[in-house]
Subunit: 346 residues, 2 copies
């Protein structure tokens, strides 16, 4: 997000997202937040990004990075990085760091996920396609499962997770990944329109999405925006904006537990007005969000958007729904069909 | 299936499956069954297989092929071929043949699907991976959508279909693809144990799966089995067996409409006793099978088999469920996890 020429330079807003839950085989009372900042700095060097800012709640340390965000709780580590960062290079070093410096010796579960990149050829080797990423993760985890949701010849979303029971305490993650953004809305996230992160948070309406957040927001030079919001009970939201018109992209992620995310979805859509978006909801059996997929299955429209794909995956302890929507007025992903043979069959 | 040495030669039982629905833009009363056998013969030359036998019902012509089966109704064409056949080479020639010789000028819908191959490197170029196949189909259809169900680093199932409304008359397809078969059961499908197709159909219990079928069954030399069964109202079942122990595989497919397929599933499992199987059920909104996914979502066990994956896809007019099961006693797909780091983190 830093120092990009908004009219010439391509920036890959699409993030790589890693979430790792740790356990102690001896049931020891350990805490990931005892890792020193200098150790996180070294880890992030491998990923090619750095810490810009940190904010804390009793349950969580939330870092704004030069490319997206990092969240550290007692037993869960989240790293979300955009651009051409090399996220997977840090997985083994992370496990080693956490074992050596904290004492956690068991991975309870991992989730590695991302949308398909706009320009995969600009990524470093391991991240150029999901098959490479899976090979890399399979070297570390003997029981990983890899899935592709959505249309592999259009827009899709990749997931790598363990086939174990996983996390049993209530857990849910809600993500909205948006693209083909409204250019007017995107202008807010430039230094032309706003003087700093807080200014952009206010002008855009981000401050009103969820009230009572402790916000750490940052406006990049000349454009681009990141925000970590801390809420009570270990909840967070995080928003990242790539406003350049030729590669516009916004991500919204949260772990707030809700029985239905409809209100939240509508608020986020109002703030950003994407042309298209995909939504994923992960919820385990202990979460109050566990039945959201049943509502979503029948919901073919959301406030001016029409669903193009709905998929459900049942894992051992989690359900995942994947939903893709486009503005109702928008054309289908390629040309709309005439129902005729595409090529003349003479 | 023909002339394979069961102890040395690898045979890819996994089929490529194409289903095309045709329409006339002028609403003309046309019939695919007016195509001459010599024209089908020529088309199948492109796929590298040939017609062995044909059986007919009022609604359908059912062909046993040297590699699997072909079904022709008034407006639907189904081609299922195993081994190293080149199914996709016939798609454009098929559209041309059907337009020139029958007059159908609109593709109502297509479904191209297959399980991942055991040995993809033995396939001809276009079929070596799904990405190639999708590229080929995207050249023909401007509005095709490609999906991967299941685990891309283990067993999975690929689908290419059109994003249109598709077929509106009641339609459903049920498939069980089975592997790691019971060697005792597989012996039945060899010339050692049985003298012909009918003998194998009876000894195996296939004749009892659905009563009242008009059966066209064939036992290959020295082993391998194919059967097309015709039922009233345009219904069919088709079974193909690759019995060699090192590459055993059986497929069961049918379009019989049922509110729940549990009885049928149990009967098929009893006949073949696979180590693992995957099941797909396609049903459109007009089909009585449209709600089967709701039952399947909660059904984590079927008669001695435990579910490893359950996925649901909602298309414009169809729902598709994908389910994978393994014998409850069987190990997980790779080593079961200990919950420990797979590699020592020193």
């Amino acid at each position: 997000m830093a120092s990009v020429d908004s009219h010439q330079h391509f920036f890959e807003g699409t993030e790589k997202l890693l979430e790792v839950w740790f356990k102690s085989s001896e049931g020891r009372d350990l805490d990931l937040r005892t890792v020193q900042k200098s150790d996180w700095d070294k880890l992030l060097e491998l990923v090619k990004c750095e810490i810009i800012s940190v904010a804390s709640s009793p349950e969580m340390d939330a870092y704004v990075l030069s490319e997206s965000s990092m969240f550290v709780t007692q037993d869960r580590y989240i790293l979300k990085t955009c651009g051409t960062t090399t996220l997977l290079y840090c997985v083994e070093p992370l496990l080693k760091l956490v074992k050596d410096k904290v004492g956690f010796d068991v991975v309870g579960d991992i989730f590695y996920s991302r949308k398909n990149f706009s320009r995969p050829e600009l990524q470093h080797g391991v991240h150029q396609n999901f098959e490479n990423e899976v090979q890399e993760l399979d070297k570390i985890f003997p029981n990983g499962s890899a899935y592709t949701l959505g249309r592999i010849n259009r827009d899709c979303w990749y997931l790598y997770t363990l086939e174990d029971e996983g996390v049993t305490q209530p857990d849910q993650t809600f993500e909205l990944l948006m693209w083909d953004m409204c250019p007017e809305k995107m202008k807010i996230f430039t230094q032309e329109m706003c003087k700093d992160g807080r200014d952009a948070s206010e002008k855009s309406g981000i401050v009103d999405i969820i009230h009572g957040m402790k916000m750490d927001d940052f406006l990049f030079e000349p454009c681009g925006y990141s925000m970590n919001g801390l809420l009570p009970d270990g909840c967070y939201i995080t928003i990242h904006v790539t406003p350049e018109p030729h590669c516009s992209y916004v991500s919204f992620e949260s772990n707030v537990p809700q029985e239905t995310y409809n209100d939240l979805i509508e608020k986020v859509l109002d703030v950003f007005r994407p042309g298209k978006f995909l939504m994923t909801i992960f919820a385990n059996k202990a979460s109050i969000a566990r039945d959201t997929h049943k509502t979503l299955e029948t919901q073919e429209n959301i406030k001016g958007y029409r669903r193009s794909d709905h998929q459900l995956c049942c894992f051992k302890n989690y359900t995942l729904t994947y939903n893709q929507y486009a503005k109702s007025s928008a054309k289908s992903q390629r040309s709309t069909t005439t129902g005729q043979f595409a090529r003349p069959v003479i």
